[in-house]
């Protein structure tokens, strides 16, 4: 009932300005990006104090994994953005398909990440090897944890889209906002771990 109200309200307000999803989620987005900025700053400062070690260790990373992962997450973000549009237009079948595409690209990211970790560990680069790989494994795994939570969040989105009885546009948008956060955090992590010299 409230869902219906929400979605009609949303439709009427469309030309006007609106916050996508629950405004509450934005508190999380902003707080979490602040937190990651903290992690990144600590990483950059550590990096400068021990430049050669970091450069030397960084050479063991494979940029191709980073590129692939970034594109996979950008694709998933694109899919969830389309999903939000479709659901707003009432095209729930399309929305559902896009939601599953999002999860699919997320899984592709997950698999590629695990392969990359395995490869690094085979090379002898583990969490305790050196300072660079401490940061590498910390940042990638805390980000992966966000991705795993993202799967739960996408489960909520699919659950909402699945049945005509639910379909809260607000919840779908909230889930999308979370998923984009996972995406843009990875964009930063990618640049900082793989490209920064």
């Amino acid at each position: 009932m409230t869902n219906l109200q929400e979605s009609t309200e949303q439709a009427e307000r469309k030309p006007a300005r609106f916050v996508p999803g629950q405004p509450d989620m934005w508190v999380f987005v902003l707080f979490e990006s602040l937190l990651f900025t903290g992690y990144f700053s600590v990483y950059l400062i550590g990096r400068i104090q021990n430049r050669d070690l970091y450069l030397h260790a960084q050479a063991d990373l494979d940029l191709r994994f980073g590129i692939f992962n970034t594109i996979a997450l950008l694709l998933s973000s694109w899919a969830i953005a389309r999903c939000v549009q479709a659901s707003r237009e009432g095209a729930y079948r399309d929305a559902l398909r896009d939601a599953f595409l999002t999860i699919g690209f997320g899984v592709a990211f997950l698999v590629s990440k695990v392969i990359e970790w395995t490869k690094e560990i085979r090379l002898g680069n583990t969490f305790t090897s050196n300072e660079f790989f401490q940061h590498f494994f910390f940042l990638t795994s805390i980000h992966l944890l966000h991705l795993l939570i993202g799967f739960i969040v996408m489960g909520v989105a699919v659950y909402q889209l699945w049945s005509p009885a639910r379909r809260s546009q607000q919840l779908v948008e909230t889930c999308a906002t979370y998923w984009h956060t996972v995406d843009f955090l990875w964009v930063l992590i990618f640049a900082l771990l793989y490209v920064v010299r």
Binding site: A81, Q85, H180
Partner: protein, 98 residues
Amino acid sequence: MTGTFNKRLAIVWLVLTLMTLAYIWLDHSADDDGVYRASTVVTVAAILIALVKVRIIFREFMEVRHAPALLRRLTDAWVALMAVCLLGSYFIGSALAG
């Protein structure tokens, strides 16, 4: 309506992906026959490109474009804050390391 939206999202995705691919060139330009070299230009460029991507994700994918002024300003302020923190820690760290 849906068509224009989807076209816009596709273009956004394309731009973001091209920016990602730009990193390959950036990455190679920094190296000296496979040996990694420290480079302020590459570091600053990598951080700035990433932040521009973040802002595009905020504006387009997360629909801040249509959001009230408060959220638009807040997200822009946040991108600026991240830039200050990241570049600041890089340069202050460099200055301290000498």
